[in-house]
Each structure stands twice: as C-alpha cells, then as structure tokens.
C-alpha cells in the first residue's frame, strides 16, 4: 500500500498538464484503477483483514483524490497566470470618449439670478418679445414723442398699410413685463423677469439683442431703502463675496421716480474684477421707485401701493463674474467659446452648495 501511495503521490506532483493528471486519476482511482481494483479484493478478505485494509484503502483513496484536486487547482492557476500574461494591454490608450455638452453662460446666470431672488420671495414672470408700443412705452410713462423713445433705438415690426394700429415693437427692455404682471397678479407682488431685449445698435460693446432681468416689488410699505438692501443682498450673493458696497446716484427713467443708477465698488487689476474693494465704481443697473402712472397702467392703486423696480444686463453681469471679454461672442455659437465659457449640465446653481463650483 505504501508503495501505491508513493507511486501516485509522486506521479501527481510531477504531472505538468491536465491531460496527464486525468490519466493518472483514471489509473489510480478510476473505475478500473489500481486502488479500485484493490478495493474489490476486500471482499475476498477475512473480516479481520478487511478491518485493517478497508480504512487504509479508503484513506489512501481520499489522500490521492485530494492530491489530484490540489494539483488540478494548481495547474488551473498556472494556466490562468500564463493566459493573463498574454493579455497585456496598452492602458495608455484613451478611454472611450463621451460627448461633453455645455450650458450657455446666459442660461447659467439666469438660473443663478433666479436662485437668489427666489430666496427673497420673487417669482419669475415672462412676457412676449414682440410687444405693442403701449406695453413697451405708453404704459411705462413714455408717451409718444417723448425723447426717451427716440433714444431707445427701437426695432419696429412691419405693419400692413391696411392696419391702422401703431406698429408693434421688439421690446427694448424687460419693463413691459412689469405691466403685464401687475395686470394679472395685482399687488402685493414680487417678480423678476429675465429675457431677451432688442435695440438697433451694433458695435464693439453693443449687440442688437441682449438679455436683461427686470425686478419688481410692490407692497404697501416698500421703500427705496428696501431696494438698496435687496440689491446689496443680490450682488453679494451673485458675486459670492462677503461684503459689497453700492452707491445710488440720482438719474432719470420715465417709469420710476425717484430713479437711481447703481454703482458697485470694485477694483480692476490686470483685467481682473474684484467686487467690494478698491476705488473704482462700476455702473451695474438702473432702478427706482415705480412711477404712480406705471402702477395705474398696471391697474394697481398708487394711493395704496408703492414699490421698486430695477433692470440689469444679464450678459453684462455674466461678463463681469466670469471674465468674458466680448459681448458679441455670446451670440456667435463658436464651439471653442461654448466649450470654454459654458457650464457642465450638473453645475446647477443653488444657494446651499454655492452658485459656482
């Protein structure tokens, strides 16, 4: 028996491939293998002999089976290792590219502005871009022949000769949305109205279409001091700085009274804008207390309600915040520009995680 054991365990340890191992298995423990044949001889033995030989044979069979299994696993491991060695890949090859889309800075900034004003209770109002001259001018206290009309570089829509109405205009500002919103919602009211506006002007710093955001808050007790606070809060949140300083300067808009241009304290160093410090003042928006005639046009009683309005260039504040030099490029759709200044789909501006990454 020891001889058998020696023979097979030795042979198993020396086997080099699975076929030889299988051959050995058949030789040793296969149906007609040496050990099986020995087992068969047990029947011819005396009970006493069997008592000794039986367990010994079984033990030998187990031992050989284990050795076979161990060897089989070892051979498989070696084969796998050998195969993997042939599977070398150049992992410096580029990964499979996924297309990268972008969000336009105007959309991004509109969402930023919306997030900030939403927190202060403003909702988002909209209005048509082709509008009647009543909404764009008359209702905003800019009667016909008012010099302000001439200064607006208004685009007029074609009118058929048979149509006696004054021609519609491409809205020159987002202010007509004030009137439309007042008509529908009444007071009290807090809205912003972002959108496209149009003026017939095209040069280094002007495009015939640009984007504005209008703000309007009407209640019984809203004052210009509230306006200043709202704008300060907005600018601080938008530019993501701790302190801002605004300067109100008297000005004139037909639809507000008193009116103010608002300047922001800033510094320009090496083309970089820093908000809240420095000695420069930069004009960022126009604002004022809504003119009683405008409230009346919006069917709100000026004896009871008052409020403020402001208008700000979205493209402009986008340029300031993100250092974009040329307004005209906003509307050119140059892929290089879109990719460079655009935002990831996942950059959703929120107040809790910050507006920008």
């Amino acid at each position: 028996m020891d001889e058998l054991r020696q023979k097979y365990l030795g042979a198993i340890s020396e086997v080099a491939d699975e076929a030889a191992l299988e051959y050995l298995r058949v030789q040793a423990v296969g149906k007609k293998g040496e050990i099986s044949l020995k087992m068969r001889e047990l029947g011819k033995m005396t009970p006493e002999e069997r008592q000794v030989a039986g367990p010994a044979l079984n033990a030998l069979k187990d031992e050989i089976n284990s050795a076979l299994a161990a060897k089989k696993a070892a051979l498989a491991d070696a084969a796998l290792d050998a195969r993997l060695r042939t599977e070398w890949l150049d992992v410096t090859l580029p990964g499979r590219a996924r297309p990268q889309g972008t969000i336009h800075p105007i959309s991004q900034v509109m969402e930023e502005v919306t997030a900030i004003f939403a927190d202060m209770g403003f909702s988002v109002a909209e209005g048509p871009q082709i509008d009647s001259d009543w909404y764009n001018f008359d209702a905003l206290n800019i009667p016909e022949h008012h010099p302000a009309r001439g200064e607006m570089d208004t685009f007029y829509m074609h009118r058929d000769e048979s149509d006696n109405r004054p021609p519609h205009v491409l809205r020159t500002h987002t202010s007509p949305v004030q009137i439309r919103t007042m008509e529908v919602q009444g007071a009290p009211l807090r809205v912003i109205a972002p959108g496209r506006v149009y003026r017939a002007d095209y040069d280094q710093t002007h495009t015939p279409m640009f984007n504005q955001v209008e703000g309007l808050a009407i209640d019984t007790d809203i004052s210009m001091a509230n306006l200043k606070w709202v704008l300060e809060e907005f600018v601080r949140a938008y530019f993501e700085v701790d302190t801002v300083e605004l300067r109100f300067r008297a000005s004139h808009f037909p639809f507000t009274e008193p009116s103010a241009e608002v300047d922001l304290r800033c510094s320009w160093e090496g083309g970089q804008l820093k908000v809240g410090e420095g000695d420069d003042w930069m004009e960022i928006l126009g604002s004022g207390m809504v003119h009683p005639k405008v409230l009346e046009a919006g069917k709100i009683d000026p004896a009871k309600y008052q409020g403020f309005a402001f208008g700000m260039g979205i493209d402009r504040i986008a340029m300031l915040k993100y250092g974009i030099p040329d307004l005209r490029a906003f509307f050119d759709s140059d892929l290089r520009w879109l990719r460079h200044y655009g935002f990831s789909a996942l950059d959703v501006p929120t107040l809790h995680q910050g507006l920008s990454r």
Binding site: H158, L170, Q306, D332
Partner: protein, 798 residues
C-alpha cells in the same frame, strides 16, 4: 452738455474744486462724462530761456539750443524758425506727455546730436492751432510752471471743461444757469442773480410779428425787435474762447451771442438780417410744397402742417429748428431782427423727425425751454448785442402770450420719507423745493416754468431725494413674504425649459443663444419670412425677420463652425420662435442639431456618422426628462425641411405632436452652406401634458418572485412594415403576461428576397400566479404569432 468752470462760476458763487463739483453733479443726476482740465494736462511743462541757438551741423533747418530750465541748462534741438537766443519758452523735459502729438518725449539723438527735451508750440499743448513756431512768452521766470503763468496771464486757457449727460427730463440743465441752480440747492455755493432791466426801445419795430390762430398751439408766444446800426464783426476773445472750449465754432458776434444764450440759459434765439425780410414775420403752418434753403445749406420741402416763419415773400425759417439761409445774418448785416419764441416740444419733434434735422435749437425745444423766459431772454440778448455790436433797439413786438401754468402739487413730507426710506426733515424738503425755484404755498408746490418735467407729486419726491443725495440712503431689509423656508417659484413650463437644457447638455449638446432675427431666405426655408414677422428697420438684411424656428439659427451656427474647421458638432437652443407679428404668436421650442460624426476618429472605432436614431434617442430622453409619457406614436408627414423619408413625429394622437426628429433635407443644407448630413430634433415643451397628480408619492413597486421567461421571435414582413406596429401587436397579444417587447434585429434582403425584411423581437413573459409551463409559453407564443400576422402580415421566419 459742455461748459467751463469759469462759465459755471458766472452763475454760482462757490469755492468748490473741479473734482468736488464733478462728484456732486454726478450725484445730482447730471452725470459727468468727462473733465478736460488743462491744469492736469499741462502740469509738467515749465518755463525756460534760450541762452544760445546755433545751426545744427547736419541740418539747415534745425538749431541746437542751450536752454536754461528748472533742471539746469539743457541741450534741445529745435526746428522752429523762431528758436533763437533770448526768448522765453515752454519746455517739456524727457518723460513729459505732449498731448498735441500724442507722444511722451525721450532723450534722443537728432541727426547725431543729443536733444534733452522739447520746446513746444501752442498746438503741441492743445492750446490753439498755432504751429508757426514755438511759444515766445512775453514774461515768465525760468523754472516756473507754465500752467501757473497761463492762469495768471491767459486764464481762459486754463479753464476746465466739464461735459455732462442730460437725461430727457432735465431741459433746464441744458443751460449753465440751471446746472448752477442744482449745485446751489445742494449747498455747493450760491446762485448769482442775473436779472436784467428791459432795454427800452427808441423807435417802433419796422417788422411786425403775428401767429396764425391755428398755430398758437405750436407757438404760443413770439417776441422780437429790430436793432439797427449794428456792426457784425468777430466776437470778442472771451466769447470766442468760451464757445471754442465747448466745441462750437465762433462765426460772428451776432450768431455767437445767440449760441451763448442757447447754452447759458437754454434759450435758443434766432437773428434775421432785417434788410432781407420783406414786410412782417408770420408764424403759420405750411401748406405743403414750400421750399426753404436752411442754414445747413440744404433745401427742405415742407409738408402740410409744419410750423414755419414767413415774411411777405416766402418761408424764412424752420420755426424752432433752423433758420433760413436767405435771411441769415452776414458780416455785412447792419440791421437785425432778434427772435425769441416759445415752440411746443411735440410740434418741433415731429417736424424735425420728418425732415431729419438735428440742431441745438431743435434738441432744446423738443425737451422744453422755459416759456416764461422768452421775453426776458430777448432783453438779455438785446443788451449783449448793443454791448458787442453797437446799434439801437426798437420797441419789442409780441404775438401771443406766455402760456398759463397752473401746475401745483401737494408735498406730502411723510410720503417722501416712506417712499425713499430716508429721514429728511419736512422743512429741509420745503427748502429744497424753494431752492430749485418752486413756489411753496402752504403744502402746495408750484413748479418753476423751466421745469416742464414736474408733472405730479412723485416728481417732488424725486427732487427732494435727489438734492438730499441718494448716497445717504441706507439699506433696510425687506421683510420676507412668508415665515420660514421659501416655496419653489418656477412654473411647470419654466422647470421644463431648465430641465430640457440640462438634459441636452448632459447628452453632449452645446447650448447656443442665436439671434432671434434671421435673414429672409433662411426664414423662408422654415415656413417663415412673412411680412408679419418682418422688421421695419432691421440693422442688416441678415437680421430682417423674426425666426420661425430654432433650426435655421443652429444650422447657420454649424456652417460658421464648419468654416472654422470643426466638422462634428452637437448644438442646441431653447428659446422663443415667432409664428406671426402679434405678441401672442410666440412659442418656446427646444431644438438640437447633430452634424458630422458622433466624435473624432478614435482608436476604438467608436466614431461613426450621426444618424436619425441618435436624434430620436436624444429627443426621447429630453421628452422623458420633462415628463412626457413613455408611450407615444411615431407618425410621418411633417414640414418640408425634413428628409421626406427620414423623419418622424413623436405624437400622442395625430394632432398632439410633442416632437419631430429626422434628417435635415439636403436642399436646406445646401442652401445654408452646411456640409451634411445633419440630424435635428424639435420639441414643443408646452405640448407635453401636465402630470395629473401633484403628489410626490410613487406607485408601490410590484416585485414578482416568479421567474420571468424571455422568448425570441423573428418575423418576415414586407419591407415597408414599421417595426413599432409589429412590437405593439406582439405586446398586445397578452397584456397580463407580456412584460415587455424589445426589437433587437432588422435584416433586409438577402435570402428573404426583394421587398422583404426580417424583424426579430424578444418578448419577456412575467407570470404572476404560478411558474410558466411549456404549454403556457406555447400558448402565448401562438397568440403573438397570430396577432403579429394579423397586424402586419408577418410570418415566423423559418
């Protein structure tokens, strides 16, 4: 509006500096656009004396001068003919900026000889156009600053010029006195009185004036007088300097005087050569067709209703806009008729717009001059004409009268405080209004005649706040509309737009913002370009029509990018399009465009041409993101800018189109210079039905422990059978058991023969009660084969 500091000081007693004045003006709403201060410009120039001047060894016209300066004796090469020993000159040392030649001079060699500075002419320092030679000062100490010498000897040349922007509501600030009044009200000085006694006439005016009854609306008042025996030479230097400083060209004393009052008091005047006026002057409305040669040397043909001033012969002046050439004054004029009239803004604006004339007078009358000052202005002008040109004034002739002014508004001092949010004491408020010329009678404020913009109590608030200074405004928190966490504010449509944008970007598209107006040809390709959407005054023919769709703008963007060498792109836009010219004919669309390949050539061979199924998947992904139902029909037959055989409409019923996707028609591509093929989609987000329930709760998840079974079927159908019909038929075979049907293969032609194709589907069976037996599966398979056969004529592929 430009004026000089000394001009301002003619009306304002003040010790304030230029900078203080400028800052205050801006704060008052008279925004300073620029200050031209010679003291700043010329600060570095000093006085020197030429000690020696010798001919340059290598140049006949140059002299090598030794000049005594504040920095010792310097050698300066000079080309001026008058450079010679003994003269007192103005020296610029190296490093000094010379405004007249826009150069900072350096030490340099001129024809081999070193020059250590420069001696300047008046033109080089922008003092005048004089450039015959360098300045020779009649006095001056070597080393002194030239600007100090100038201030002492020729102060007009050091007078700072301030330019301010005037908002349309402030015609009074188009006169220097009006500006001074604002500053005085703020407390920056005292307004000087400039009242003048009337100049008595010594003879009746030989020229009479009248206003037609139907013209009194446009011209309520016309006054004038003849001054005879004047001498119309050049004006004195002070007046010429003043006008030149603000950019006007001095012409002759009479004209310069009218220009002076235009800027000094916002009182445009006109002077006629009295000898060229036949008979009397009459203000009336043109009949139409009359012609007038105006002072700008252009001939204007009048339309009926335009206001003119005519003599017995013909129109002599475009009333309030521009005088006529024929009756204008010349150097030979000896008898002059001075006109001071009040013209109503609207009439002036309309006429000037029609005739396309811009003039100082028009600009001012259009905004509103002080009607009450009309006769007073004539007296001022008379006085100055007699002073500068001599002559003898006639009695004043008058037609019409100063229009009545009944404006009066209650000053509610509490309201001012509540509106502005600033604490301004009531007496301060009243004082401010008085300082601005308002007459206070109790609580009622009567605006001065020079402030036509004051039209209601709100205007009083503005005046008070403006003079008090809005810089003092302190921010005050605005109370929140609700206690606690703010509610969401976006409307469902606004949310959809945002989600659509972010989904498209996530799918790899770059967002564009293209112009809302496009050229007519492009608009026509997309069913637009109609008269209703045409701009009356486009800035170019490229921007003539409101866009009927987003795709033309994206295609133009694609063409521009292709021209820059980018062949592959995915662009999208979300925005308004215009189906007509009325406000309500505007709709929001979402469009995407794929051009070229899915990506650049790559090592994995993943790059391929974009195709219809790319845009279909993208349109479906965006629709899903904005809440469109998963099941939709795909119909054909939409607009002609799509490939007729390669497009589909994603619909909920034949009339409810949510989106269109497909290949852009090759003719459209070639018309727009885009190298194709190009795939596009357009989504109508407003068409997607609103979610029925506003609850965030989901349906319970139904999980089934029984094993699902998948079976594959391949059907042979006619080639024009649509896969969706087959899939729907299979899915309808057993609605409880069939969990899903997925098309996984399409095979056309080959052994199937002409006009046939094979479509292979996987059907997933999900039992709910008991495990499926072979018999169950056979039964449902038979039903599927039957249904598909009936719906599509398809047979199982053998």
């Amino acid at each position: 509006m430009k004026f000089t500091l000394s001009w301002l000081k003619h009306h304002l007693e003040t010790t304030a500096s230029v900078d203080e004045i400028a800052e205050t003006l801006t704060d008052l709403g008279l925004e300073v656009e620029g200050i031209e201060n010679p003291a700043a410009r010329l600060a570095d120039f000093t006085i020197g004396k030429v000690l020696k001047a010798e001919k340059h060894p290598d140049a006949d016209k140059l002299r090598v001068c030794e000049v005594e300066t504040d920095q010792g004796t310097r050698q300066i090469i000079c080309g001026a003919p008058n450079a010679r020993a003994g003269i007192t000159v103005v020296v610029a040392h190296p490093g000094t900026y010379i405004p007249g030649i826009d150069t900072t001079i350096q030490v340099g060699k001129i024809r081999g000889v070193e020059s250590q500075g420069m001696m300047c002419s008046e033109r080089e320092m922008e003092l005048s156009d004089e450039h015959e030679g360098i300045i020779e000062l009649p006095s001056g100490k070597v080393g002194a600053r030239f600007i100090d010498w100038l201030a002492e000897n020729d102060p007009a040349k050091t007078d700072p010029v301030i330019e301010i922007a005037i908002t349309p509501n402030r015609p009074d600030a188009l006169g220097v006195q009006g500006i001074a009044r604002d500053l005085a009200a703020r407390g920056l000085g005292t307004l000087k009185a400039t009242e003048t006694d009337p100049v008595p006439g010594t003879f009746p005016s030989p020229i009479g004036v009248s206003i037609d009854a139907d013209t009194l609306d446009g011209c309520p008042l016309f006054v004038g007088r003849v001054i005879r025996g004047v001498k119309n030479g050049p004006s004195p230097e002070w007046l010429r300097d003043l006008l030149k400083a603000i950019g006007l060209r001095p012409i002759s004393a009479l004209v310069d005087i009218t220009n002076f009052f235009t800027y000094d008091r916002n009182r445009p005047l006109h002077v006629f050569d009295a000898d060229k006026v036949e008979g009397d002057l009459r203000v009336h409305l043109a009949k139409g067709g009359e012609q007038l040669l105006a002072l700008d040397e252009k001939t204007y043909t009048l339309e009926p209703g335009m206001m003119v001033i005519s003599d017995d012969r013909a129109p002599e002046s475009l009333a309030g806009i521009m005088g006529g050439e024929e009756s204008g004054v010349t150097a030979d004029t000896v008898n002059v008729f001075v006109e001071s009239a009040y013209w109503k803004p609207i009439t002036i604006a309309l006429t000037a717009r029609k005739l396309k004339i811009n003039s100082d007078a028009k600009y001012r009358f259009e905004r509103g001059v002080d009607p009450a000052f009309t006769p007073v202005g004539l007296e001022h002008a008379t006085r100055m004409i007699i002073e500068l040109c001599g002559g003898e004034p006639s009695e004043v002739v008058t037609a019409g009268a100063v229009p009545g002014d009944t404006r009066a508004f209650r000053l509610d001092t509490d309201h001012v405080q509540s509106l502005v949010g600033m604490s301004i004491p009531a007496d301060r408020q009243r004082q401010t209004l008085s300082d601005l010329g308002f007459t206070m009678k109790g609580d009622m404020a009567h605006p001065p005649s020079w402030r036509p913009d004051i039209q209601g109590p709100a205007d009083l608030v503005e005046e008070v706040a403006r003079i008090a200074s809005l810089t003092k405004l302190e921010a005050k928190p605005m109370r929140r509309t609700q206690v606690g966490v703010p509610k969401p504010i976006l409307t469902p449509m606004q949310k959809r737009e945002q989600i659509a944008k972010r989904t498209a970007a996530a799918l790899g598209y770059n967002e564009c913002v293209t112009y809302s107006f496009i050229d007519e040809a492009a608009a026509r390709l997309f069913s637009g370009g109609t008269d209703a959407t045409r701009l009356e005054n486009p800035i170019s023919s490229e921007m003539s029509h409101m866009r009927p769709a987003l795709l033309p703008g994206l295609l133009q963007a694609a063409a521009r990018n292709q021209a820059r060498g980018f062949a592959d792109m995915a662009l999208f836009e979300v925005g308004a399009v215009f189906h007509g010219g009325e406000p309500e004919e505007q709709h929001t669309l979402v469009s995407g465009l794929l051009v070229g390949r899915t990506g650049p050539k790559d090592v994995h061979g993943a790059s391929r041409s974009v195709d219809v199924f790319d845009v279909k998947a993208d349109a479906e992904a965006i629709l899903a993101a904005i809440g469109a139902p998963a099941k939709a029909q795909i119909l054909r037959g939409t607009s002609e800018w799509w490939h007729p055989e390669r497009h589909g409409m994603i619909c909920l019923g034949p009339k409810k189109v949510l989106a269109v996707f497909g290949e852009i028609h090759p003719r459209v591509l070639s018309a727009m210079d885009v190298k194709g093929p190009a795939m596009g989609f357009t989504i109508w987000p407003e068409e997607v039905p609103q979610r029925r329930s506003s609850s965030a709760t989901r349906d319970a998840l139904a999980l089934n422990d029984l094993q699902a079974v998948e079976r594959d079927f391949a059907f042979v159908v006619d080639a024009d059978v649509e896969a969706l019909a087959l899939v729907n038929a299979a899915a309808g075979a057993d609605k409880t058991l069939i969990d899903g049907v997925r098309l996984f293969d399409e095979f056309i032609g080959g052994s199937l023969g002409e006009g046939k194709k094979s479509l292979a589907i996987t059907v997933r069976l999900q039992p709910t009660d008991s495990t499926l037996t072979d018999k169950d599966i056979e039964a449902v398979s038979a039903k599927i084969v039957d249904k598909v056969g009936k719906a599509t004529g398809g047979v199982l592929r053998g």
